[in-house]
Amino acid sequence: MPDDIVKQYENGLPGYIEDVRERIQYMESQKQPYFIERNIKDSGKGKRALLWQYYMAFDKGAMSERQTTGDCVSHGSRNARDISRCCRILVNKEPFDYYKRGATEPTYGARGHSGQGMSPARASRFERDTGYLVREKYKPCDLTKYKSTIGTGWGRAGVPDAVKELCNEQKVNHIRLIKTQEDLMDAMINGYAAHSGQSAAWSGTPNSKNIHPRKGSWNHDMALVGYDDTKEFWPFRVWFIANSWGAWNKPVKDWPSSYPKAPPGLIVTSADDFNVCVASGDCWVYGGVDGFPPQKLPDFGTIGMLSDD
């Protein structure tokens, strides 16, 4: 039940573990540690990117998978990864298939200990260097449905070699740290989703400003799935955070009618309250996720190129 996991986090379940050494090692392992793209600088300012809609266009149940243990980092990273993957297909029109929802278990199984919780830096390293799998039945393990005991069980011994070999098929080529909200807007307007780990919590009940205010503290990681800086519906910038607890909260009352349907448990937060997500130093943006080659082509490439449609 969602209530159980909420209580566990309220009682201090360490789902998100900050590991500074791991983060520094990760940053040192790639040329460009931070997402600072000069050619798209300020492209997200004053705009909105509601990225979850692209994920839900392929998978109506996206972001409804409810975590049952402290594996939030693998849920946050999976959702960011899948959204970036969907944006490559629907926004950038790259010829890939969505194929299936991503799996969380291999990432969580790579956390390096038998307890609960994970460092996002460690998840990033695994997904960049080893790769990821989807919700499918593989020979060494059945990942068709979320089963927390699989990732939990791999714990200290790590992900089995046979599974890692399968992960190698699909990798995330670029995972970079975000330093500012402005950088994150630039990333999102270009179709890159993120996730972040922080010690902060949000109320399950929206306030009179039509947002979920900060309240309490969770050591938690969640996917960052959109923002609206147009001030059209809120007089300030808002961010949209996808939690992985199912329908744990009350949705905001005035949901813009022109918006796509919200995923269950979505947190709508002000820029001020959101800042902890980038200030924590564990806000990771996903780019260049290896896609799945299409099984069937939509056409041979002529449609739309010789007509006005």
Binding site: P294, L297, F300, G301, L306
Partner: protein
């Protein structure tokens, strides 16, 4: 992606290297010929040149650089975009895109497969489009 762009650039260059020639005095049939029934000789030549060049490139590459039909589709799209995108040819002949699809569809399926397994069929498709257009 870079290698695909180079291929596309080569095709576009080849397309514009052909000088327009007089149309053959033969009444052609088939979806592409039907779609281009009212076309000017120059437009017919442009379409024919694109597909002759695509046939040539596809044959010479043999699936080495363009390894799957999905990649070939992207090359095809980019070729059309660079060769005729933004010109008045786009939208001028309703049904031309569907007609080209129909001809290619006679030769290969929409399955994403290794290009090496369908090179000859794809080359034949491109040549048929070119011949019908001319």
């Amino acid at each position: 992606m870079m290698k695909h762009l180079l291929l596309v650039a080569a095709i576009v260059y080849a397309v514009y290297s052909f000088s327009p020639s007089a149309p053959a005095p033969v009444v052609k049939t088939g979806p592409v010929a039907d779609a281009l029934r009212s076309a000017t000789p120059q437009d017919k030549q442009t379409v024919a040149s694109i597909y002759e060049s695509l046939a040539d490139i596809t044959q010479r590459d043999g699936g080495k650089r363009i390894s799957t039909t999905a990649e070939w589709r992207a090359v095809h799209q980019n070729t059309l975009g660079l060769a005729v995108g933004g010109t008045d040819l786009v939208g001028k002949y309703p049904g031309l895109d569907v007609a080209v699809e129909e001809v290619i569809g006679k030769h290969i399926s929409l399955d994403n497969v290794a290009l090496s397994s369908v090179v000859d069929d794809l080359v034949a498709a491109c040549k048929e489009v070119a011949a019908s257009a001319r």
